[in-house]
């Protein structure tokens, strides 16, 4: 179709806004990544001396390695617990006609919707009251509460899309409840649980505020980063930020790809 001049102008204008938005959002990321590879000082940027030196230094930094370990342990355990809870809650709410259905949903979604500072603080006060000392375990509890909403939502959506006659058919053919879950329900939920787990990992991986309150002496990557920045701005920080970013982006892309075809047969 032939376009008038005004329409061309509008196209150009919209294109500029889009480009500008991308520039503002992603330029700092690009700059940050560049400075993790290329050294710079008062004399300018030394393009020719690009190297992975700062990344190697990170690997030698024991406190950073420990932080990475803690982060991984915390997110894997928190996501695993949240996944199991999400499946149980979703089945209870959707099929068993949960008594406090509304309340359950509210409880599940609240930690995700509340300001993290409130969630963190209230958990801190709670643990303090009942005399649990802070550490990995308390961070895991905090993260589980946070990511449960993500997993619950995805599992519930999948469960609702699944015809209940499948469960009836399974029982009708002589399967026990456990067999029905194993052979019929779980294969149907699995894609949603995996997608939810990746998304939850991404959330848990760079969660900072709740963690600050619950960490005690333990350090996760975001906390380590925060600590490093107070000492001084070194390219090491650029490197660590780039790693965090890359991991987050990869998980976001996986989630985006998996959520899109979720309507059809993803298996």
């Amino acid at each position: 179709m032939h376009k008038t001049n005004t329409e061309h102008l509008i196209d150009v204008f919209l294109g500029l806004i889009t480009a500008g938005t991308f520039f503002v959002l992603y330029m700092p990321i690009v700059v940050n990544s560049i400075f993790s590879l290329v050294p710079s000082d008062r004399n300018g940027i030394h393009w020719g001396e690009a190297s992975f030196e700062w990344y190697w230094r990170l690997l030698e930094n024991e406190s950073v390695i420990a932080a990475i370990k803690t982060t991984l342990i915390v997110s894997v355990i928190a996501v695993a617990i949240a996944a199991i809870l999400a499946i149980i809650l979703a089945i209870y709410v959707e099929w068993e006609g949960a008594v406090f259905q509304r309340t359950i949903e509210l409880v599940v979604y609240t930690p995700f919707l509340m300001p993290p500072i409130i969630t963190g603080l209230s958990l801190l006060m709670f643990f303090d009251r009942i005399g649990i000392s802070r550490g990995e375990a308390t961070i895991i509890v905090g993260h589980t509460a946070l990511v449960l909403a993500v997993l619950y939502r995805l599992v519930l959506t999948r469960l609702r899309a699944m015809p209940h006659t499948l469960v009836e058919a399974s029982a009708d053919l002589g399967a026990t409840r456990l067999q029905t879950f194993r052979y019929v329900v779980w294969p149907q939920l699995r894609p949603a649980v995996i997608t939810g787990a990746v998304l939850a990992m991404a959330v848990s991986f760079d969660e900072t505020l709740i963690t600050v309150f619950l960490a005690g002496d333990t350090t996760t990557i975001p906390l380590r980063l925060w600590g490093m920045m107070r000492v001084g701005f070194k390219p090491e920080i650029n490197a660590l930020v780039t790693i965090v970013l890359l991991v987050s982006i990869i998980m976001a892309v996986i989630t985006a790809i998996r959520i899109k075809p979720a309507e059809g047969n993803e298996e």
Binding site: P163, T165, E168, S170, D172, L173, G174, Q179, P187, N265
Partner: protein, 352 residues
């Protein structure tokens, strides 16, 4: 095997979905539960299958009460309206599911599954997934999946409603011949009168949660016992009538001489006359009605003739005539006399 529903009813809160019914299902028959949507027919099936528990009454299999028997332990299997095939399993896995969960050895399972696929004519697709099958094929998989479990009764919940007309006719024929071949009792639920009459050995007509009539397709079709049944099949011509002391029946279209073999309980009656049982022309010993022709529509295998009787010209009678080309066209607005043999007239009680 005899299944007996003894005063079984179902309420949801204050809503009575099924009034107490008693019904016997005998060995090897194809029994259809027929009724309009919301009449409670699927409820009967779900009660027998064990998906819901009856509010009152007992379900007896060979005299043994099944009320506390879990779905998975009842010797019945269901073909669901949406087929309920497991989408992540192949045809073979779907059909073998009932055996797999009972721990059947692999070798035996493979053999039984192959036999079942053979019976339903699907031996070519054991590796396909349900999404790759047509509606009719899914239907066959669902059937094969139930028969490998060797149930005493196969429960079919409107299994053909998702199929198009042509496929539906094929599947009706297939279902009936399959049932004859394996000799298992089929309990079939449908809202389609034509389908019910075509495939059943016996019919149960349900309306508003209660049984209207039980009988063979011919009994139900030609000798309806209630107004609902009389009006449910075909385009029956229904008249209100009054039984006289002499046994004849006064109707707005004239008096019908006394009918043999009628055992009516009320003096108010309903007269039902099938449109295809009329003939054109006066006949001796038949019920003759003088009419004016409203129109005559050619519908391929039938001619639909609409007439208004001289005695009650606001009424329209429908007559179906064979579309034999030698049948002459009747003039619109012309006079015609139609007749029906007395033994072809059904008279039933009208308690209201």
């Amino acid at each position: 095997m005899t299944l007996y529903l003894d005063g079984v009813s179902k309420n949801y809160g204050d809503v009575e979905v099924l009034r107490p019914i008693s019904l016997e299902v005998s060995n090897g028959e194809l029994l259809t539960v027929l009724g309009p949507s919301g009449s409670g027919k699927t409820t009967i099936l779900r009660l027998i299958g064990g998906f819901i528990a009856p509010t009152c009454g007992r379900i007896l299999l060979d005299g043994k009460d099944l009320s506390t028997t879990h779905i998975s332990k009842r010797p019945f299997n269901t073909v669901f309206q949406d087929y309920a095939l497991f989408p992540h399993m192949t045809v073979e896995q779907n059909v073998g599911y009932g055996l797999m969960v009972k721990g059947c050895p692999k070798e035996k399972m493979k053999q039984v599954v192959n036999e079942a696929l053979d019976v339903v004519g699907l031996s070519d697709f054991p590796g396909r997934y349900p999404a790759e099958l047509s509606g009719g094929q899914k239907q066959r998989v669902a059937l094969a999946r139930t028969i490998v479990c060797e149930p005493q009764i196969v429960l079919l919940d409107e299994p053909l409603s998702a199929l198009d007309a042509e496929l539906r006719r094929q599947m009706q024929f297939f279902l009936k011949s399959l049932q004859r071949k394996i000799g298992t009792t089929f309990l079939f639920v449908t809202h389609d009168q034509q389908e019910a009459i075509t495939i059943s050995d016996r019919l149960v007509v349900i309306n508003h949660g209660g049984v209207e009539q039980v009988g063979t397709p011919k009994e139900i079709y030609y000798s309806p016992k209630t107004k609902f049944v009389a009006g449910f099949f075909g385009d029956n011509n229904l008249l209100d009538g009054q039984l006289t002391a002499s046994g004849s029946i006064e109707t707005p279209l004239g008096t019908i001489p006394s009918l043999q073999g009628s055992n009516l309980k009320t003096s108010k009656v309903i007269v039902a006359m099938r449109p295809e049982l009329f003939r054109i022309g006066k006949r001796e010993g038949a019920f003759n009605i003088d009419c004016q022709v409203q129109n005559m529509d050619f519908a391929g295998d039938m001619n639909f003739l609409r007439l208004s009787p001289k005695l009650d010209s606001d009424r329209t009678l429908l007559v179906k005539l064979s579309s034999d080309p030698s049948v002459p066209n009747l003039d619109v607005n012309g006079d015609a006399t139609i007749s029906i043999k007395l033994e072809d007239i059904a008279v039933l009680d009208n308690p209201r």
